[in-house]
Symmetry: C2
Subunit: 433 residues, 2 copies
């Protein structure tokens, strides 16, 4: 792993907006589903997933869900159940109440907080079918109180293998029981506009390939969508108190995701930098995904030696990484200085996979430097707020003239008159004060 002097690193990588052909294909699919409903949905499922289904076969049956449990190891069920419980506990802490503020004049102002009514979660097929992502998308919605959570996922390779049973178990543990075997842009369009078999949703979330990403962008506005994730990143800020073997393993766990993933070590110690570089090389050679991890380390990995932890923190804040590990003496003393990081892992035992799978916080975290202004997925992503104004007669009489002043200044006489008609009827005339 390269040790490089401090310089203008940038974690931002190009966002894939698809080719013109991909965009045209997606637009056509979305249009067809919108117009033709199930007919188009079944046609595209046969075309792209090579699976012939009837409308009645789209939905996964309770029997299939139950049968999935018999196809997975008990140790997996134990682990996914424990993870789901932790994730649920953490997200429960984020729940908020509607509130009202009673004014002395009898007026009531407030904010009503409600869950979205129906949410769709996309789960990719094949090797990208991650049970952990099912939990991370579904549980926040469920904790928010969303009454209808629906999942879509491709029907399986050539319709033979069916849906991955691990995905079905994760869905069941997370509390989803409405699952449709459709994928790709056609599944996104079906969730957005509805078909005879699938009722439309208010929001669509979950990862997918470029067609899924383009389809989400295409239907945005008709429904809400989550943000589209870029390649994953980690920055480790460590000093000589850290174990180079631990840090190297954490850097590699990020690098193995994807050739575009980025793993960066920031340290004030040249000796630690060198020791970690050696460890990365040693461990990399033993990794099954060494080709991917190696490309990531080569192209987007770096060790930056800084003058001090404080300088390291300013590098971190500039990079605004998705994941940050702070592995120094007394890591908590630096947390207050971290302005930009999606998730912060503190101390030697908070390895990133602890958060990816198990501890409770969400693993869907802003990438590509966007932690500067955005946040990990949480319960807030599945609620909506309504303002509430109950104005008393006394409040209107008291403040009406000021409201009219502001409206008239903006040239909106109709606004002023909506107040004036009330003041007049209540026996007062606007006296300009």
């Amino acid at each position: 792993m390269k040790i490089v002097p401090i310089q203008e690193f940038d974690l931002k990588r190009e966002v894939d907006y698809g080719t013109p052909e991909q965009n045209a294909t997606v637009k056509q699919i979305v249009r067809d589903i919108k117009v033709e409903g199930d007919a188009a949905l079944l046609r595209y499922t046969e075309k792209y997933d090579r699976t012939a289904l009837s409308s009645e076969q789209l939905r996964v049956t309770p029997e299939e869900l139950k049968a999935a449990y018999e196809r997975v190891e008990p140790s997996f069920v134990k682990a996914i159940t424990a993870a789901a419980s932790n994730i649920r506990s953490f997200h429960m802490r984020q729940k908020r109440n509607s509130w009202m503020d009673m004014q002395p004049d009898g007026s009531i102002l407030g904010q009503i907080i409600r869950p979205l009514k129906r949410v769709g979660v996309y789960v990719p097929g094949g090797k990208a079918a991650y049970p952990s992502s099912v939990l991370m998308n579904v549980i926040p919605a469920q904790v928010a109180g969303v009454p209808e959570i629906v999942m879509v996922t491709p029907p399986g390779t050539n319709g033979k293998e069916g849906i991955d049973p691990y995905i079905l178990v994760a869905a069941a543990e997370a509390g989803v029981n409405e699952i449709y075997r459709v994928g790709g842009a056609q599944a996104i369009a079906a969730l957005a506009y509805g078909t005879e078999s699938i009722a439309p949703v208010d929001k669509i979330c979950g990862p997918g390939n470029i067609y899924v990403a383009l389809a989400k962008r295409e239907v945005y506005g008709a429904v809400d969508i989550d943000s589209i994730a870029g390649p994953s990143e980690i920055v480790v800020l460590a000093d000589e108190s850290a174990d180079p073997a631990y840090v190297a393993a954490d850097l590699l766990s990020q690098a193995e995701h994807d050739e575009m993933a980025s793993a960066i070590l920031v340290t004030p110690s040249q000796a630690f930098a060198e020791a970690t570089s050696v460890e990365v090389a040693r461990q990399l050679a033993l990794l099954p995904r060494r080709d991917i991890a190696g490309a990531s380390i080569e192209n987007y990995g770096a060790i930056i030696v800084v003058e001090s932890i404080e300088e390291g923190i300013s590098v971190v804040n500039r990079l605004a990484p998705e994941h940050l590990e702070i592995v120094v003496e007394d890591p908590m003393s630096y947390v207050g200085s971290i302005e930009n990081a999606g998730a912060i892992f503190l101390g030697p035992y908070s390895s990133e996979p602890v958060g990816d799978y198990f501890a409770g916080p969400n693993h869907i975290i802003p990438t590509n430097g966007t932690a500067r202004f955005s946040s990990p997925v949480d319960v807030d992503d599945f609620i909506k707020k309504s303002s509430m104004i109950y104005y008393s007669k006394e409040a209107l009489l008291q403040n009406g003239a000021m409201i009219m002043e502001l409206a008239r200044h903006e040239g909106l006489e109709g606004h002023a008159r909506a107040i004036e008609v009330r003041l007049e009827k209540e026996g007062r005339v606007n006296n300009g004060q």
Copy 2:
């Protein structure tokens, strides 16, 4: 105003994505500002705002801000100060604390809530320069704790009149003192990428014309942006206990905004429908903006007579209006049934302009049916969250095997090894349990 039977109304109107020429112009401007900085900013300001400025003249001086107070009426200052105070009080109620959850095994999980560091607010020039919008954009950011709030607004007509003093007073009352006299797509690009004179921001908000909207879309990703507002809407749900003159005035106050604005009355009473229709016609004839309001009422206005209040509520929930007034006996008893509405005004004295200008809740509210899944602007729009994980050694020893199980199931051996290297060093070996 047309009385129509219940049918498939839809408040959605076409979103303006601009012409290809407008898109090309905006892309060129953004590119030039990004590359040339101030030089391009000054050039475009001269070209589009017909105002020749030097870099030193871009920023509004403290003297200008002070002088603005002498150019506005004391009654305006009084009203805007009172409005700012109410808006601040309401938004203060939305502030949230970072939190930590201490686990029995010594682990600490939490969510760190921080304000964005620097926010830019766009304020249009000319007739669309609304002091109330300055308050509604700036105050939530200020309450969130954003340390740097910067405003941009066109330099004025031909550079002669300068910036509207009412806007400057509103900015000062809201607490902004960094103001630049630039507008259009060039101002948005300067906020997003920075120039020699204007430091880049993390988020851009505020209304503007099509060029401003397209520029915000263009820079999104480099910075966050607010949502782009559609035409304004009101739905009034009223029964015979309401005053037709009040309801008509409220409908017209919405209609006068814009020919695309929509005003809809939903009522179970044919008599009330007819009385309100007559009142709308009477009051419309007296309105200065009767051409605009008349076109809005004609094209996007309607009175829908329903069987019952309950049926009316289902119409409301389907329309998901930006503004909803409930003017019936005991309006509070229906609030729990309102699933979709951006702002809810209850009772005869809660005329929409009360909320537009004064009461405290934000007047930037989701339009075009998006109240189904989005919310009025509030303090949450100016914060970001970071997850925090401090895992104890005990927790890792206890849970490590389950984390490895989940990682290995997903084919991410590097993730498993990041845990395993720690378990091994701590004198334990993964025993598969």
